[in-house]
């Protein structure tokens, strides 16, 4: 356990002793003269720095996860294994993902190319239906090709199989993280109790889950807490249980897993997840992290509001559950105490609940929303509205429900009149801000019109 910290890259072990634990993997790779991984933004938005992280699920299956190396602080990587673009070709023998990019003229200036290659590479070893679809490369920006040839490269790969090749074999024998010492300031507990004890001992330490939010600050050298408590090795946080009455989602479950394993349970979640950032971020981001940062535009937060989620917290005083409706207090301020850890999110399954979500952004793919909305509705036997949730992100300092408008709708039939009354009320229900994403007027308009759009699917 006290082995020197190490990281395995392309099968080779690198000693991490003395490495700045807050340095991003991307910048560290440069110090090792592994220049194939490119820095296009250091923000987690361009994908040029994509690498493939070996990941072992609790059920023992392993996968290559495409992740942005700019968002991963070195402190999170002790003991882990990953591949960079330099590790794919065997001499002159290109990996199929590389060969497809060559065959289809998928590179022009070449700067984004290693990132695309790594996204496609990870897709080659995934069973997911969309493993090599557009969604596999939507987190990679290319300014030269217009994407058409890269899409053709992905199509070429869909017709091939990498089963049994050296990389598939490496997955098959991968036994998970190697045990080694932590880097200074980065604690990697194995249990919730251990994590809470560490937090008691180091109150200034910061929880860090997928690092897709905190990682941006670290990448820019901005936020430097005294220490970090990494949550990615705590098995309990990785549990996902789908029960008849409820779904319990461990706070550390990645959004990619939610997309796959919870598909078909909540339409509102299914509809929002594909628009939540891009694959590299969804592979790392967690529901717990989304709730912890509590951004007013966190895309999944309105969905949780609409679905009446409850947040399971553990702290030194024990466990408690907070209804999502009481969770958001003010701008990035929540009912969670500083020493509490989000362990799970519970979503009740309500019979006959109609639910949907909509998101509007300047660019529909991989963008931060202007307004995100989630709606839920249950009708009584007579067709009147028995239950309604109208939840929004991007219209206030916190994700919010339009409570007054919900009351207005209870007991009414969802006819054109009701829709228009509600929409008119929604138009003035919030006092959003003007910013570089959109004007307040547009946001107010969307609050009303997105409800109209939802209602039209219920009462066409």
């Amino acid at each position: 356990m006290s082995d020197a910290p190490f990281l395995t890259i392309n099968g080779r072990r690198f000693d991490l002793t003395g490495v700045d634990p807050q340095l991003s993997l991307l910048r560290w790779l440069k110090t090792q003269r592994l220049h194939g991984t490119k820095e296009g933004c250091a923000d987690g938005d361009c994908g040029a720095c994509t690498v493939a992280l070996l990941h072992r699920d609790q059920d023992g299956t392993s996968s290559y996860q495409a992740v942005n190396s700019c968002l991963l602080p070195m402190g999170m990587l002790a003991g882990r294994s990953l591949l960079t673009v330099e590790g794919l070709a065997k001499g002159d023998q290109l990996h199929p993902a590389q060969q497809a990019m060559v065959d289809c003229a998928g590179s022009q200036c070449g700067y984004c190319t290693p990132g695309f290659v790594m996204s496609l590479f990870a897709g080659c070893y995934s069973d997911a239906a969309d493993a090599l679809a557009d969604s596999a490369i939507a987190g990679n920006l290319c300014r030269c090709t217009g994407y058409a040839p890269i899409r053709r490269a992905a199509q070429q790969l869909r017709r091939q199989s990498c089963a049994g090749d050296a990389f598939a074999q490496r997955l098959a024998v991968y036994s998970g993280d190697g045990e080694c010492a932590d880097l200074p300031g980065f604690h990697r507990p194995r249990s919730v109790d251990e994590a809470l004890a560490r937090k008691q001992a180091e109150p200034e330490a910061c929880w860090i889950a997928g690092a897709t939010d905190l990682g941006v600050d670290l990448s820019h050298g901005r936020k430097r807490a005294g220490g970090y408590i990494c949550l990615d090795r705590i098995a309990k946080l990785q549990q996902l249980s789908i029960e008849p009455q409820r779904v319990l989602i461990g706070a550390g479950v990645s959004l990619s897993r939610l997309e796959r394993e919870l598909a078909g349970v909540f339409p509102a979640l299914d509809q929002m997840l594909p628009w939540f950032a891009a694959r590299q971020v969804r592979n790392q981001a967690t529901l717990g992290g989304n709730l912890g940062s509590a951004s007013p535009i966190g895309d999944l937060l309105p969905v949780l509001l609409a679905l009446d989620a409850s947040v399971h917290l553990r702290g030194p005083e024990g466990a408690r559950e907070v209804a999502i409706s009481r969770y958001f207090l003010d701008y990035r301020w929540t009912a969670r105490a500083a020493d509490e850890l989000i362990v799970a999110v519970e979503l009740p399954r309500r019979e006959g609940l109609i639910n949907a979500s909509l998101k509007v952004a300047k660019r529909q793919t991989d963008d931060i929303s202007i307004v995100a909305a989630a709606f839920a509705l249950a009708l009584a036997a007579d067709g009147s509205i028995a239950h309604v949730r109208l939840a929004y992100g991007g219209v206030a300092a916190t994700p919010q429900r339009a409570l007054a408008v919900e009351s207005l709708l209870i007991g009414r039939h969802l006819d054109i009149d009701s829709v228009e009354v509600a929409a008119a009320a929604l138009h003035s229900a919030f006092a959003p801000i003007d910013d570089h994403r959109a004007s307040a007027a547009y946001r107010s308009g969307l609050a009303a019109d997105l409800f109209r759009q939802f209602a039209a699917t219920v009462v066409p």
Partner: protein, 770 residues
């Protein structure tokens, strides 16, 4: 014709996919490499009253804090006007302008020390938009003009008349590799510059100017760029210059690569434009008179704004003839980063104004816009001819009508238009729109003297070849095309040729790789060098093959008696023989484009060697609830002449189109009240992803019927810029869909870019008007 021409892949493709292709900042760091970080102005416009760098200089690892006083030569990087101090002397002119640069052992130390440099400012009034500049009459240079006929009188006489305004947003280049340079003063005192630059010669000149050296003391090389798009035509220069200054002052190798947010804050972009127009036309929609006033936002310094503005002015006409035209242009001086070249170089903005006007006419007359477009096409066969541009150049080899008809047929335009009308009748809140728009784009630098190029070819005695040319590789595939030219002329395989890093000590006095002219100019220069050496080799071969000199043919890495493959020699044997016979196996090649002349004051002449043509059909669906649009299908037909490399040309067309659609839809620059760029990262500035590109994306190369009247390299045409403007079809399709929310509207205004909010607003405005 096929052979390597159509199939040769990008010469660096394997390097790209394996990560082995190196970029400027990645070459092995020599011992003692130091880095730079700027001290940024917090004001858009202010007087500098004091710079105190003592605290920064005392930091461990800091070598120097560079200010204006450190410049040994001319403290100016302006490419046309000398109005761009590398380091400000007494004034800052835009927010985040570097006031000083810290040179330090590591980026982190440089950054930390930059925060310790104390600068006092007295804020001055700032001009932060074209609107303010117009109101305050803040302009660079006198107005520019392009005119023909008597637009004023013709406007008065026209049966119908409309006027309007259009504001057009800018665009960040968002090359994936930010500005980067690497400089070392070598043992002989030569300043060795490696720069991610499109214009090594100008980078060399500016570095020499700043250091007070003659050009022969500076060598600038450009390895490969991670994208350029015009953003590294002039704006690579300041970063090479500051690195050179640091290397000169500190005696250490210096590397600079801008962080993304710095790159976005510091560098110029595609010029935002503001246009005012008056158009006179008849009931058939025929243009009779046009008066346009263009305002380009130049930013704080002039940079390339004059030629950008001029290219905008000479592309308002696009593919349309108008007898009486008067276009005036002005460059606004604002306290924003200095706007610069960007693929299309003003052409897209000019063309957008032209297409806006066409749409106004169409809706006013309640006629389909494509009808107005067709009717007004330049035509050599019309009587009287309607084939001369407002700048008095005939439209040579005009194929637009034929190309247009082909695309309309292949895209099933008419049938789809009807289907869309039916769809719209049955859909209240989702509307579709389809549009077809043309492109006619002039190829050549407006500035005549830039239309020259050089090459340097060495053949070694063992038959291997080194090829140098003045063009730079930024992903556009120039090196690959040049290899194609050389292999075709020399009759050798690509693996025999080593293409060398572009360097000013190999080919001097080069032009920027820009204006879609890279392969035209450098291709001809390379061809000339190759022909020179073949002429020298031919007599040797004739002697060895025992045939006449004019029977000698160079084919498949051999030299043979033409038509008789049995009588041949391997290329390497011939070159060895030539060496033994004391024949020089090194030659330069040179090319200047014939027939060009341009009078910038009069705005008339023959600035373009030829025109590239194209057309595009786009179909979109707009959501009336949110203003979100989806691009459903695109069909592009573009004229590249006899393609030098179809794979590369197709890539330019697809990529240019998507870049154009980004400019016109999701890419929006927003500035704060202090003149700071708010959208300074990809989290806030959104270029298209794969999700914005339709899977129904048909790209075809136009096959011309007649031989061209010009002599471009192997009958090809430049392709870098023109396809970007095919994306105007997307904007016009969106406008069609928006119009469907209020059938019969006589005017449909749409913001540029057409963001979801702009579309939402456009629909709301139409509904309110009804």
């Amino acid at each position: 014709m096929s052979g390597n021409k159509a199939t040769m892949l990008h010469e660096s493709a394997i390097g790209h996919v394996t990560g082995r292709a190196a970029y400027t900042d990645e070459v092995h760091p020599p011992l003692g490499m130091v880095e730079l970080h700027p001290v940024l102005s917090p004001h858009a416009h202010a007087r500098i009253t004091r710079i105190d760098s003592a605290a920064a200089q005392n930091q461990h690892g800091v070598l120097a804090v560079l200010t204006a006083a450190d410049v040994p030569g001319v403290n100016n990087t302006g490419p046309i006007l000398r109005d761009e101090p590398l380091l400000p002397v007494d004034q800052v002119c835009h927010h985040s302008q570097p006031v000083a640069w810290v040179v330090a052992e590591t980026p982190a130390v440089a950054r930390a020390a930059a925060a310790l440099v104390a600068v006092d400012y007295e804020p001055l009034p700032a001009c932060l938009s074209t609107a303010e500049a117009i109101e305050q009459e803040q302009f660079f240079l006198p107005p520019a003009q392009v005119a023909r006929g008597d637009a004023g009188t013709a406007l008065d006489a026209a049966p119908l008349r409309l006027s309007g305004e259009l504001a057009i947003g800018g665009q960040d280049h968002f090359y994936l590799e930010t500005q980067a340079s690497w400089v070392q003063v070598d043992s002989e005192g030569i300043v060795q510059v490696l720069s991610s630059t499109q214009h090594p010669t100008e980078t060399q000149i500016i570095v020499a100017r700043v250091l007070g050296l003659p050009s022969n003391r500076v060598v600038c090389r450009s390895l490969r760029m991670g994208g350029g798009f015009g953003g590294k035509e002039t704006q690579a220069n300041p970063y090479a210059a500051i690195a050179a200054l640091a290397a000169w002052r500190c005696g250490r190798p210096v590397r600079i690569k801008l962080l993304r947010e710095l790159d976005m804050q510091l560098t110029g972009k595609r010029h935002p434009f503001h246009a005012r127009y008056e158009v006179g036309f008849d009931a058939e929609g025929m243009l009779q008179a046009l008066k346009v006033q263009l305002y380009a936002d130049g930013g704080w310094s002039c940079d390339l704004s004059p030629p950008v503005l001029m290219r905008a002015m000479v592309h308002v006409d696009n593919a349309y003839y108008c007898p009486h035209v008067h276009i005036e242009g002005r460059i606004c001086r604002t306290n924003l980063p200095s706007n610069t070249a960007f693929r299309g170089f003003g052409g897209p903005q000019g063309m957008l104004v032209g297409e806006e006007i066409i749409d106004r006419i169409a809706r006013h007359l309640q006629l389909p816009a494509e009808q107005i477009r067709e009717r007004n096409f330049y035509s050599a066969s019309a009587q009287p001819p309607r084939n001369t541009t407002p700048y008095h150049q005939p439209v040579v080899d005009n194929v637009i009508a034929d190309l247009w008809a082909q695309l309309k047929a292949s895209s099933e335009y008419d049938r789809r238009r009807e289907q869309i009308a039916q769809f719209n009748d049955g859909s209240a809140r989702r509307k579709r729109g389809i549009a077809i728009t043309p492109v006619k784009f002039g190829i050549s630098f407006n500035k005549t003297e830039y239309n020259q190029a050089g090459a340097l070819l060495h053949i070694y005695a063992d038959g291997s070849i080194q090829l140098n040319h003045g063009g730079t590789e930024m992903g556009q595939g120039l090196h690959t095309k040049i290899l194609g030219v050389a292999t075709r002329v020399l009759g050798v395989s690509p693996k025999r040729i080593q293409l060398m890093t572009t360097s000013t000590d190999k080919v001097p006095n080069t032009s920027a790789t820009a204006a879609s002219s890279g392969s035209d100019l450098n291709g001809q220069a390379v061809k000339a060098a190759c022909l020179t050496l073949l002429e020298r080799l031919r007599p040797i071969a004739a002697k060895r093959l025992n045939c006449a000199v004019d029977q000698v043919a160079f084919v498949d890495d051999c030299v043979q008696v033409a038509g008789d493959a049995k009588r041949q020699l391997p290329f390497a044997e011939l070159t060895a023989a030539a060496y033994a016979a004391r024949i020089s196996l090194s030659a330069t090649g040179y090319y200047r484009t014939p027939g060009l002349h341009w009078d910038p004051k009069a705005g008339r002449g023959h600035p373009f060697y030829y025109f590239a043509y194209g057309a595009a059909v786009s179909e979109v669906e707009v959501c009336g609830y949110s203003g979100v649009h989806r691009l459903l299908r695109c069909d592009l037909l573009h004229d590249v002449g006899d393609s030098l490399n179809e794979i590369i040309d197709r890539g330019q067309i697809e990529g240019g189109f998507v870049q154009g659609l980004g400019w016109l839809t999701c890419e929006e620059l927003r500035w704060g009240a202090q003149g700071q760029l708010l959208t300074n990262a990809p989290s806030t500035y959104k270029i298209p992803t794969v999700g914005e590109v339709p899977t129904a994306f048909q790209v075809d190369l136009y096959r011309r019927q007649a031989d061209p009247s010009t002599d471009v390299i192997f009958g090809s045409k430049g392709v870098g810029e023109p396809p970007l403007m095919l994306a105007i079809s997307v904007r016009e399709a969106i406008r069609e869909a928006v119009a469907a929310f209020a059938p019969g509207a006589s005017q449909v205004d749409l913001g540029a870019p057409a963001t979801p909010e702009a579309i939402y607003t456009a629909i709301a405005r139409l509904r309110a008007r009804r």
